[in-house]
Subunit: 461 residues, 2 copies
Amino acid sequence: MAQITIAGAGLVGCLLGVVLARRGHRVTIFERRPDMRSANISAGRSINLALSDRGLQALSIAGLAEELRAIAIPMSGRIMHDTSGSTHYQPYGREGQAINSVSRGELNKTLLTAAEQAGVEIVFSARCTDVHPATATATFELENGDSRTVEADILFGADGAYSAVRERLMKTDRFDYSQSYLEHGYKELHIPPSADGGFLLDKHALHIWPRKSYMMIALPNIDGSFTCTLFFAHNGSPSFAELRSDADVQSFFDQQFPDAAALMPTLLEDFRTNPESSLVTIRCSPWTFAGRTALIGDAAHAIVPFYGQGMNCGFEDVRVLVDCLDVTGEDWPTALSLYERYRKPAGNAIADLAVENFKEMRDKVADERFLKRKSIEAWVYQNYPDRFVPLYTLVTFSPDVPYDEAQRIGREQDVIMEDLLDHPDVRADWTTDAAQSVIRKRIESLPTLNIRPLSPKNNLV
Amino acid sequence: MAQITIAGAGLVGCLLGVVLARRGHRVTIFERRPDMRSANISAGRSINLALSDRGLQALSIAGLAEELRAIAIPMSGRIMHDTSGSTHYQPYGREGQAINSVSRGELNKTLLTAAEQAGVEIVFSARCTDVHPATATATFELENGDSRTVEADILFGADGAYSAVRERLMKTDRFDYSQSYLEHGYKELHIPPSADGGFLLDKHALHIWPRKSYMMIALPNIDGSFTCTLFFAHNGSPSFAELRSDADVQSFFDQQFPDAAALMPTLLEDFRTNPESSLVTIRCSPWTFAGRTALIGDAAHAIVPFYGQGMNCGFEDVRVLVDCLDVTGEDWPTALSLYERYRKPAGNAIADLAVENFKEMRDKVADERFLKRKSIEAWVYQNYPDRFVPLYTLVTFSPDVPYDEAQRIGREQDVIMEDLLDHPDVRADWTTDAAQSVIRKRIESLPTLNIRPLSPKNNLV
């Protein structure tokens, strides 16, 4: 049994605490903020998140998947809104496949309670002030001003994009690090429930208002409201910097998002009050130090939100770590090194994919060629599921496929599909026999998909 | 007249101080270390450096080029040493073109004195502890323990790869940053002068012992000695980690560098005593803040040493900054913004080129195809100097060509030369009429080189 310190009681830190405590380890989590179950504080950067199969798969290890499905709203596809208010629906996957809108706060509260029930000690309002990675020792400043220094067998930094544990690792020799910001930021806005408590937009979809250089999205909440997020350039034209007055904001929304603006009575106040936040990608290496300290979740790989995978990727880190502990018989240094070997390429890949998907969401989803490609891909997937699985499906609905494999396969498919779309028969009408024979021939020439396993455990079965 | 603070009295900080003081500004430099002209301290990471045309061009603005040539040893080419001790000479450029081996310490001392003579105040043993970039304010802890806070009109961070000014800029919103280490590190070693004070190797060359995955180089010093640098993997096989005992070191050198080892009486002691240092590339953005604070030299773009351009690039930053001040009539915010616009792509390019040149130096210089390509390039350059200038010449001997232009042109040439080398006639013997006609035809199809100017000043003349 190991003594384990986790910095950060966010989503990933709590799930990690649950699974390690259930394995018999003595786990203490230190959290910078007060207990969100009693204090009225914001849960973090976004109000709701899309929980998908990877996240659910990891939660199921802790027996939490069903409990969390109960507070989630399944979204089976995207609904695109144009400036006239017309909409177009595009399913995310097959019948029955969906991503799930969940409240970050509710999810975190559930996980905090699950951690305590599993025997984890959680110390709130404890700020990490120092770390000695070689000895898994961390010092925290407590609420009463006292300092507490804890030496453990293993120290995890699950303390998010601005991780204090990672900041200390940066001072070790030859630590690679990068932080890279998008030119776009975001602001959260609000569509309330209808007078009778119903939903003012279709609740079983993620709504997108794609506008080429920017976009707004909306996800449903269980109270009937929607949380909208405007992703918009910080500066330039158009940008947040240009929307100076209430009149600027109202006129911009009336022109660009008229159907949404009509449902946003608090638009001007929300726009003034809510922060304009930044979007960063953070990469670093190594994630582990001396077999005793490790980074996990956003602390290891903060990504932009455009594939809805930040939380899912963090939960998957926990799932793979558990597999590494299993296959090594809890030889921690070996397990941590295996964990890093499997997860680092995955983290890098989803970081890239997330940046690339912004372009897809804000621009390409409104593009005819792109929509045609999506239709062809769905048809090909249905007919050749062992040869062709669309990238979105690999990322979102294939929890045993590593992100880096999804990225690799996606790039190969990109070439094939763009080629096919250039073929005159396919260009004319892809549903004709002639066109489909061209498509079939190309797909039948592909080998069966051969995918590297997600974790060393899959390797052994 | 502006009040200017410069953090760092290294090579770039001093040159910047000289040129700004000569323009009539009131300049104070704060330097963390004591005065190297009186204290016996190491001058920094490497004992000698290769000063090339870009650096000389920038030094000439301060009237220092000739003074520094006097303490430099020109190296007109590379001498490659194989494991049998056989050597092969390869000129760097045309007759009369050379890079110059200079002592970092002597160069820095000369620049310190030049700065003082130009009226710069230099405060030594002053560690930067805080910076307010928006107000060009910096705080320094002085030798006596006192703290001194200086608000200036303009603050420059010329404080090197581990810049304190940049560290403070990292805390501003949306600051992009990356630090990336090579798997290789380096250790400096020593070949003394001969008994009569002469040079034990040819002094007019840079010596290279290329060994594919690693290499050693040697540069001459004015006292007749050579400083050798072993670039070697930190870990793995072979690596520094493997050379544990004196016997390991001696046997490795005897096998791999027999001719050099015979000239290194203090090899074992040097190897034990001298540090195993890391090689890092640092990039960041933005380099300027609020029109009042700017990074320059390694603080803005630390690069690996394999193109011999780190100091030259930093000096060129100063040259371009001066041009920006000229064309804007010393409108500082505009000048700094122009400086960043011209220098950031250049800094990125030389960072890439420097990493790529490691591969060339340690591996390709011993490769037959590579040597043939070098010969063909020299011949093409001689015959078509307006259409084809070799990459090494663009970087090293073309001080008006931006590094990013050199990189772009180098990539185009790469394709052309590799194509030509694959041609059967060229492969058989490139000096035949048939082969040269193939080469001529290809080169004559190229447009005349069209190169973006180095600075906004060149744009206007």
